[in-house]
């Protein structure tokens, strides 16, 4: 039985459980709602939930664990020679998967019978051609050993899914029966149902922790693999980045960090003054009408997807900078450059800086402004000498948040900065960043055993740690700042 069908059966069972639980409670109370401890709804819901939730949880765990167990028990069956021939164990496993999938496909389309698929041999049948017929092309002819493994893979899968169906159904029916038997008018159904709902709420909230764990663990795990093949000091202190898919690559992070830092600094040089002055003007000078027009307009910039900025860098800003600045100044003729990516990223960050600074400037108490104006200071003197110093910690926090955004930004640098890893001071030169290299190492044909791919996880972890650090520092500063004026 397929997973979808199993799900449907369980859901139908739950619906029946709801109706029957309700009915039983009613019957026990002689049809008088007032005699029940809880509303009838809760009796029905109790039966439904008790039959569904344990069963679904079992199914979920089973679906995750079964492939792991099967794979582990298949590995000993694969002869070493086959692994050597394919190059790596996971390549063999993906062949096995593909063949098994092809056989399934063939059986479901009716070009093979179940028995035929189970017993076929490479010597008698051209497996590759038969599978291509049903839309599963294979890269090479099928090894008899691999075919055998694929067949036992199918057999185990089949046994596993039958076992799962039985176990899950048994649990669902058991839960149903248990809850149904317990239903009587004294039963505190509401308490049970509410406890279950609360547990579900807690699980939903816990997803945030799971996500963080998932991010950290998955990257740590693969990064460990990477450092097993590539020395960590060459990664952290290497000054050349030259991946080579035939091996012997130089994977030093320094040039990438340099590019990232350079682009981010240019972005902040654009975004911070413009964003800050815009925030000051809008919160201190502009009349309500100007504010109600200009503020949303600037904030639209924040809602534009980064791919749009990327395209803007690629087709508008890049050529413009090249034709009017880089070439006349003799500083290079690349449209992709640190300046291109930095300026466009700066534009993207303007609303980010301005709305954060706006909040922070508004948090400065009016009494300070009054104090300064009451001494005969002009508005700008008040802003520069009183409001700004008072808001400074908060503004620094905002700038750090903007910096973390800039460091983690991907599409603008992918399309605007270029792909060449170099350390140069010329802003019109193409350079590259950590995020660009994560993308380039992980897209296309990837082999999860080679350091050239795994390095992306080490890069990702570095990026995660840097941005996390900046965010935490920024949040602490901003929180302290807000407490000061509360």
């Amino acid at each position: 039985m397929s997973v979808t069908w199993l799900l449907l059966v369980i859901l139908v069972l739950a619906a029946i459980g709801y109706v029957m639980g309700r009915r039983r409670a009613f019957a026990d109370a002689d049809g008088d709602v007032r005699k029940l401890h809880s509303l009838p709804f809760y009796y029905g819901a109790n039966v439904a939930l008790t039959s569904v939730i344990p069963a679904l949880m079992l199914m979920f765990v089973w679906l995750i664990v079964q492939p792991m167990i099967i794979e582990r028990s298949l590995v000993p069956q694969i002869p070493d020679a086959t692994i050597e021939k394919a190059g790596a164990l996971n390549l063999v496993m993906s062949d096995v998967n593909r063949i098994a999938h092809g056989l399934d496909e063939a059986v479901s389309q009716g070009t093979m019978t179940r028995d035929f698929a189970r017993t076929l041999q490479t010597g008698e049948t051209d497996v590759r051609a038969r599978l291509a017929e049903v839309g599963v092309p294979l890269a090479s002819d099928v090894d008899p050993e691999v075919l055998e493994v694929a067949q036992s893979f199918r057999a185990m899968n089949r046994t596993g899914s039958i076992a799962m169906t039985l176990a899950v159904l048994a649990l669902a029916v058991g839960g149903f029966a248990y809850a149904y038997m317990k239903t009587n008018r004294e039963f505190r159904a509401r308490k049970y149902v509410e406890a279950v709902i609360k547990a579900l709420l807690i699980m939903a909230a816990g997803i945030a922790i799971l996500t963080t764990l998932g991010i950290v663990l998955s990257m740590l795990f693969e990064t460990r693999h990477f450092f097993a093949q590539y020395p960590w000091y060459r990664f952290f202190f290497g000054t050349t980045w030259a991946p080579n898919f035939r091996g012997d690559s130089d994977l030093g992070i320094i040039p990438l960090l340099w590019g990232t830092a350079y682009v981010s600094v240019i972005a902040l040089l654009v975004a911070v003054p413009i964003g800050l002055f815009a925030a000051i003007y809008l919160s201190e000078y502009a009349g309500p009408r100007v504010r109600s027009v200009a503020k949303p307009l600037i904030e639209i910039l924040a809602g534009i997807p980064t791919i749009v900025y990327g395209l803007f860098a690629l087709i508008t800003v890049g050529p413009l900078l090249r034709d009017y600045f880089a070439q006349p100044l003799g500083l290079g003729d690349s449209a992709n450059s640190v300046a291109t990516a930095g300026i466009v990223m700066g534009i993207m960050l303007i609303p980010f800086v301005s709305s954060l600074s706006d909040d922070i400037i508004n948090a400065v108490p009016q009494s300070l402004r009054d104090g300064s104006l009451g001494l005969g200071a002009t508005k700008s003197e008040t802003i520069r000498q009183v409001v700004f110093p008072a808001a400074l910690p908060g503004i620094i926090g905002a700038i750090l948040l903007a910096a973390s955004r800039a460091i983690g930004e991907t599409m603008i640098v992918v399309l605007g900065a270029g792909a060449a890893a170099r350390m140069d001071l010329n802003p019109f030169e193409a350079m590259t960043t950590v995020t660009v290299k994560i993308v380039s190492q992980l897209t296309g044909d990837t082999d999860f055993a080679s350091p050239e791919t795994l390095v992306a996880f080490a890069l990702g972890l570095t990026l995660f740690v840097i941005t996390l650090g900046l965010n935490v520092i920024a949040l602490v500063i901003v929180r302290k700042y807000r407490e000061q004026y509360e």
Binding site: P365, G371, S372, G374, L375, G376, T378, Q385, V386, P389
Partner: protein, 265 residues
């Protein structure tokens, strides 16, 4: 306006500093101050008293145009400083405020050092020719505000680190350092404990020798202690204005009497 106050004013001998005629203040549609006529003398402490919401603080803020920062606030009538209409469109509020300083209800030291707080006014107005001048102004202002002995060893410490009473005296020192002619004080002691209040009151009395001081206060005792002239505001009207002693012992208006004896307010 009642006869008594007019006569009172006529017998005074000091020079007039601020005089208002038919002053009106509107907040949007609300008529907050109605027909106020008042003369404030130099080298005197004038107290504005009255129940909450009577408009005394609003009127005080009109005297150095602090109400300009509120968009919906509108002032009509005439208010003169040394005979010059301060609501003349050609008048520069910044210059006006340099001459009419203000101290607020809640101590509001800037997030700077004690020294920089006091030096703020002299610096923006260019009152010091050099560092030595500035040091002198700061020291004298802090002495004036009776704060010097408490802070002379930590002038570079942040002003926000002082106690409430010290902060308010710092704000007074800050206002004094700008060398104003009139000092407006909006309930300067309402956020302070009794000891700090006593210190500030003593200070106000001393300041009288050099400035014209206008103080808004909730406390009739305070008005009686520190002021020479008292104005009683009620529902936006100036009900009575005269010698402090007269107002408290022999009020001419029944409303003033009710307020003083605690029946309204």
């Amino acid at each position: 306006m009642n006869e008594m106050t007019m006569i009172d004013r006529d017998v005074t001998t000091g020079t007039l500093k601020i005089s208002a005629r038919k002053a009106q203040v509107y907040y949007g549609e609300t008529h907050a101050i109605k027909d106020v006529d008042i003369d404030i003398e130099d080298k005197m402490v004038t107290a504005f008293i009255g129940p909450s919401g009577c408009g005394k603080s609003t009127f005080l803020r009109c005297l150095n145009r602090m109400n300009d920062t509120i968009d919906i606030c509108r002032v009509e009538g005439q208010i003169q400083l040394d005979g010059q209409d301060i609501y003349d469109p050609k008048v520069d509020p910044v210059q006006l405020r340099a001459r009419v300083g203000m101290v607020f209800q809640k101590p509001n030291p800037f997030p700077k050092s004690i020294f920089d707080n006091v030096a703020y006014g002299p610096r923006i107005h260019g009152l010091a020719r050099n560092r030595a001048d500035l040091d002198e102004i700061v020291e004298k202002s802090l002495r004036r505000a009776a704060l010097w002995d408490e802070v002379k060893d930590r002038l570079q410490a942040p002003g926000t680190g002082l106690s409430g009473g010290q902060q308010q005296r710092l704000c007074i020192a800050r206002a004094v350092a700008t060398a104003p002619e009139v000092l407006l004080m909006d309930e300067p002691c309402s956020a302070l404990d009794p000891i700090a209040t006593a210190q500030v009151e003593e200070l106000i009395d001393e300041l009288r020798s050099n400035f014209s001081v206008v103080i808004v206060t909730h406390s009739m005792q305070q008005a009686a202690r520190v002021s020479q002239r008292t104005a009683f505001f009620h529902l936006g009207n100036l009900v009575e204005f005269g010698e402090t002693g007269d107002i408290f012992t022999n009020p001419s208006d029944p409303r003033t009497e009710s307020y003083i004896t605690g029946r309204i307010g």
